[in-house]
């Protein structure tokens, strides 16, 4: 009985602690409500809810700042978006974030205790959006640096495979938006050589997107539309044991991405729509990129815990069967004790092998980059998807500058279809005069 008591003394508190950790915390519930607000287009409310949560430097610090950045960017709250993405950027770029016991706790107790830093495609998108915020503000130096960094983050995919160059090249080709924006930054900084180099690299990686990588088209443009469309990938677990399966849905499960059609003041722009020669394919598909899931050491630990836990439960069931039908007296009590201990320990191990399913839910499936050359002044711009009715957005009062460029970020969602007036909120002043080259702020 001493053995039984000892086992129970260890197992019961452990089970209690593990069970306590299963439910979402109050902050997590608030964050999920903010995500819901985002998806119904109430970006201001999402920002308001996420702002205090994102200040907490807990294991969800990066995730909540990424969420806050997404909501603030859609709300045109550029100060908040910059700070949020910068917070996420700094932790993502740091190493050893999970040292000091947090890594051990994540491996032994629950993976959710690790500081979430995202998969490489999520890290790349944090950098892409940070670069986009700087680009909108005409801070092309910092935008360039952030877009370069977005490409660094994708290297983690290719390097872990046997044939590095081919793998990296394949992943890179799914993220040409990084190259195109990098090239535009160099263009705006007056470095035509580097601009041509990166447009050429994008064209080489995705020859079908040659129209999007045209130096002259971007050079002439005075308006850039950055259009986020669709829902990004989610972490998927096995319905029975909670083991990590991967990211879903797969691109083939949800069909191809519809192409946008752009109308300015009621006139369709021929070069920037599915019927023109500019867009023949979406420049990125995060659902496809997410299928490159990187296998980490903690995945191995979790898989081992799951297998060992299953084995212990099976062993416990066998001991229980023996106690019930084949043992007598003290042997029966011993077998029953071992059976209970094995089943409880196995259940504990399996409970601690649950996958971490925290996801940056605001990510789109794709991001369209649409450079336009418009007469200086205010315009009504409509973005619609002929093959997906009910998603059209019309923005009234879009400003086309007579020098430099103005960038507009639009988030396409069913709940936000219809007419809007630019800007979506009263903008705050820029923090400092931008060192722009003939640039004009859209505000």
């Amino acid at each position: 009985m001493t053995v039984t008591r000892s086992i129970l003394f260890i197992l019961l508190p452990s089970s209690f602690i593990l069970l306590m950790g299963c439910g979402p915390t109050a902050a997590e519930r608030r964050a999920h409500r903010a995500v819901d607000d985002y998806h119904v287009g109430d970006y201001g409310r999402a920002v308001h809810t996420l702002r205090p949560i994102a200040e907490k430097t807990d294991e969800n610090f990066v995730l909540n700042n990424a969420r806050l950045g997404s909501a603030a960017l859609a709300d045109y709250d550029l100060d908040t978006a910059e700070n949020a993405f910068l917070n996420a950027y700094e932790v993502i770029n740091s190493t050893g974030t999970n040292s000091g016991g947090r890594g051990a706790a994540a491996a032994i107790i629950s993976e959710r205790m690790k500081v979430w830093k995202g998969e490489p495609f999520e890290k790349a998108m944090v950098n892409f959006y940070l670069g986009l915020v700087y680009y909108v503000r005409h801070d092309y130096d910092n935008a360039r640096a952030a877009f370069e960094n977005s490409l660094f983050k994708l290297r983690e995919y290719g390097e872990e495979r046997g044939d590095r160059d081919d793998e990296y090249r394949r992943v890179e080709s799914d993220f040409v938006i990084g190259y195109v924006m990098l090239a535009r930054c160099y263009q705006r900084l007056g470095d035509a050589d580097n601009a041509r180099k990166y447009f050429a690299r994008a064209a080489e990686l995705r020859p079908r997107l040659r129209g999007l990588t045209d130096f002259g088209q971007h050079d002439r443009s005075n308006v850039l539309l950055v259009v986020d469309f669709g829902q990004g990938p989610r972490r998927v677990t096995h319905p029975y044991d909670g083991a990590f399966v991967g990211f879903g849905p797969r691109p083939e499960e949800v069909g191809s991405i519809p192409l946008p059609r752009i109308a300015v003041d009621g006139q369709t722009i021929g070069s920037a729509g599915p019927r023109g020669d500019f867009f023949v394919a979406p420049p990125v598909d995060l659902l496809a990129l997410a299928q490159e899931k990187r296998w980490q050491d903690i995945d191995t630990i979790r898989a081992v815990k799951d297998v060992v836990g299953t084995g212990m439960i099976a062993g416990g069931a066998y001991m229980a069967h023996r106690a019930a039908y084949h043992s007598r007296g003290s042997d029966q009590r011993r077998d029953a004790t071992y059976a209970a201990a094995l089943i409880a320990a196995g259940a504990l191990l399996k409970a601690s092998s649950q996958a971490d399913v925290r996801t940056w839910e605001m990510l789109p499936r794709t991001t369209f980059l649409i450079p336009l050359k418009l007469p200086p002044g205010r315009h009504d711009v409509t973005v619609d998807f002929p093959s997906e009715p009910g998603l059209a957005q019309t923005w009234r009062g879009i400003v086309a500058p007579d020098a430099g460029d103005a960038t507009y970020y639009l988030r396409i969602q069913p709940a936000t279809a219809g007419e809007h007036t630019w800007p979506p909120r009263k903008p705050s002043p820029a923090p400092a005069p931008a060192p722009a080259v003939g640039a004009t702020d859209p505000r």
Binding site: D58, E59, G96, S99, A105, M113, K117, D141, N142
Partner: protein, 177 residues
């Protein structure tokens, strides 16, 4: 297990990370080094002797770094601390002229509309350009920084003084990075 759980409360997302980004220690090292070099430079000393107080305007750091964002605060800090150092150590030799854009912005915010008085015209510009060679793989991130500062004569375009400070940083990725 309880120790692990309670330990996580103190191990925040920002308490253990190590990155290759320029930090506060670099700010102090770079600007102290530049202060000493600028004040010891014979050409600068000669200009001080012949032209009296040098009227200098400062510009925020130009970020030419690869894959390294330099936020607005840091861009100003890396030049403003140098100015503060120079002001503390050689106040008689420098007259600091506010940046033109900032001057107009402050006037517009604080003064009633009216004709702008003539602003003191700066003679020199104190500028900085940071460059880096940055590389990142699944195992490590490394960065070599070159922080170059210049004092340029605005009338002639001649560089009166220039100096650089180089920094090498590396961060090895570990478990869960």
């Amino acid at each position: 297990m309880i120790l692990l759980l309670t330990g996580c409360q103190e191990n925040t997302a920002v308490s253990h990370g190590r990155s290759t980004a320029l930090d506060a220690q670099n700010l102090v090292e770079v600007t102290d080094d530049m202060t000493a070099k600028l004040l010891a430079d014979p050409e600068v000393r000669s200009a001080m002797a012949t032209r009296g107080r040098l009227k200098v305007v400062i510009k925020p750091v130009e970020n030419r770094m690869t894959g390294e964002v330099l936020p607005n605060g840091a861009r100003h800090a890396f030049i403003n601390r140098l100015r503060t150092n120079l002001q503390e150590r050689a106040a008689d030799h420098f007259a600091w002229v506010v940046n033109r854009d900032t001057w107009h912005a402050v006037r517009a915010a604080e003064l009633d509309p009216g004709p702008d008085p003539d602003r003191v015209q700066p003679e020199f510009a104190l500028t900085a350009r940071f460059s880096s060679i940055t590389d990142e793989s699944s195992r490590r991130r490394s960065a070599y920084y070159l922080c170059a500062y210049s004092l340029t004569d605005l009338s002639s375009g001649q560089t009166l003084w220039t100096a650089a400070y180089d920094i090498k940083k590396s961060a090895v990725k570990g478990f869960l990075d």
